[in-house]
Subunit: 278 residues, 2 copies
């Protein structure tokens, strides 16, 4: 089917957005639209300019016979900060306070559109790292992990507290919860993660960091490497955290159960040279 | 910022795709591009034609002062069938067979791009129904549920076997597993689902249907209504299923543990008048 430029631009935009971090050969588009490569190159230039002006992403082009284009999703830093500031305000609602100093966050985690946007911030931050898989802990880390992984185009592996029958051989490790000091077990199906992977760990909440520390140890059991750690919310903790190198979107800096007051601020991902990162 | 048509088309496409099932006023676009409404209407016509030709969705326009446009994602039925046929072939790999006649499916569920496509099939099928929320069971139903919910632009509520402290008051019910006949408990946080909701239940696997039946009962406990049931894989079962009205993407029609043979075919969603559904 032959397309005019306007039609090509619409279809090319939707196609590239649906295939982040994947090299699409120019020949794919010239076949798809029965158009000359020179026209396709011009189209790509137009799409690239809009995406970059809107800070939605970059189009990386490679030349030569195997030439093509790769869409790399990014975020507009100002918009990301505004999104997080709104999230902080939402999280400060005293009615979220639950026994034990926990916060009700399921409405945040349960919003697919919001988790997509939050995941995109991590995907933008870690976009230049070599990442082969995203690892998370069931249950509440899963939505954010999928959002990150979708934007990076990598698979997700889900670590669990239980040992389920339906996944074949599993690797289990013991770890000490940093907050409660209890010994717990976490497991991952042997087939869920390839050896020698670079793993980005994503979770919803980090207090002392015991669960994250456990996942880092689990990554090693798979002869793999931790490429980064990102959490939706980190909580202040009296003692030193068990994880030093991590990024957070929000920081629960104060919980006053008696007066029902919560203070939430931007996480450390915004302290860093986020805006300047290639 | 003023845009030429080519730039508007690229940005409008990405914006509409990112906001499915949401009415976008024409004034939003005319402000965004500093363009006359007549130009915006023409742009929308072009985007609509491409999306409908590619069967990626429809653009529903409403006239008048509050006029606007809503992107409704659909799937190309032929492409959906091809996707499911490839999935069936993958699932028939004998190395997936686990003790108890279960199948290893975590690589399928762990692929965010694939779950997005599978979720879109359900979102397309149920697009004309009134749906306020998607409900699923932790852990393995979550990725597909989020994919469906993202395309329908509704929140997800996650039912769990455990009773966690971090979600405030919960509603628990007992149910009988259809396969093992054991009595089990499932819980949902009171705040996770608004009363009087229309709920689409999504899960990864259904054998006798006991878990789905339990979720249907749980929906009633929230004074809500089941709008539909969709599962990734249904398994043949000797006895009558506990759920009669459901859709499935794939059907595990035969598992021969002794000879390590599995037979998987298209689910019942393709038997129905899927193609003709408005």
């Amino acid at each position: 089917m032959k397309y005019r430029r306007s039609g090509r631009l619409v279809d090319m935009t939707q196609y590239l957005l649906a295939h982040p971090h994947q090299l699409i050969p120019l020949t794919f588009f010239s076949d798809r639209y029965e158009s000359a490569k020179s026209s396709i190159s011009e189209d790509i230039g137009i799409v690239k300019e809009v995406l970059e002006t809107k800070r939605l992403g970059t189009l990386e082009t490679s030349a030569g016979a195997s030439g093509g284009v790769t869409f790399v999703p990014t975020v507009d830093l100002d918009e990301a900060e505004q999104l997080i500031d709104r999230l902080c305000t939402q999280l400060q609602d005293p009615s979220r306070l639950l026994p034990g100093g926990y916060l009700f966050m399921m409405d945040i985690i349960g919003d697919p559109s919001l988790t997509q946007q939050l995941g995109r911030i991590f995907a933008s931050y870690y976009r230049a790292e070599k990442i082969d898989a995203v690892m998370t802990m069931a249950t509440k880390g899963i939505p954010l992990a999928y959002a990150v992984a979708a934007h990076l185009h990598v698979p997700v592996c889900i670590v669990r507290h239980e040992q389920r029958i339906t996944e074949g051989s599993i690797v289990s490790i013991n770890y000490v919860s940093g907050s409660t000091k209890r010994i717990q077990t976490m497991s991952l199906a042997r087939r869920s993660l390839k050896p020698h992977s670079h793993v980005l760990i994503v979770d919803d909440f980090m207090k002392a960091g015991g669960t994250i520390r456990g996942m880092m140890d689990l990554v090693e059991e798979f002869q793999s490497t931790v490429a980064g750690v990102g959490v939706l919310t980190e909580a202040v903790h009296e003692e030193e955290k068990l994880v030093s190198d991590y990024t957070s979107l929000t920081k629960l800096s104060q919980v006053d159960v008696k007066n029902k007051a919560i203070q939430v601020e931007r996480g450390n991902i915004f302290n860093s040279s986020f805006g300047d990162r290639k």
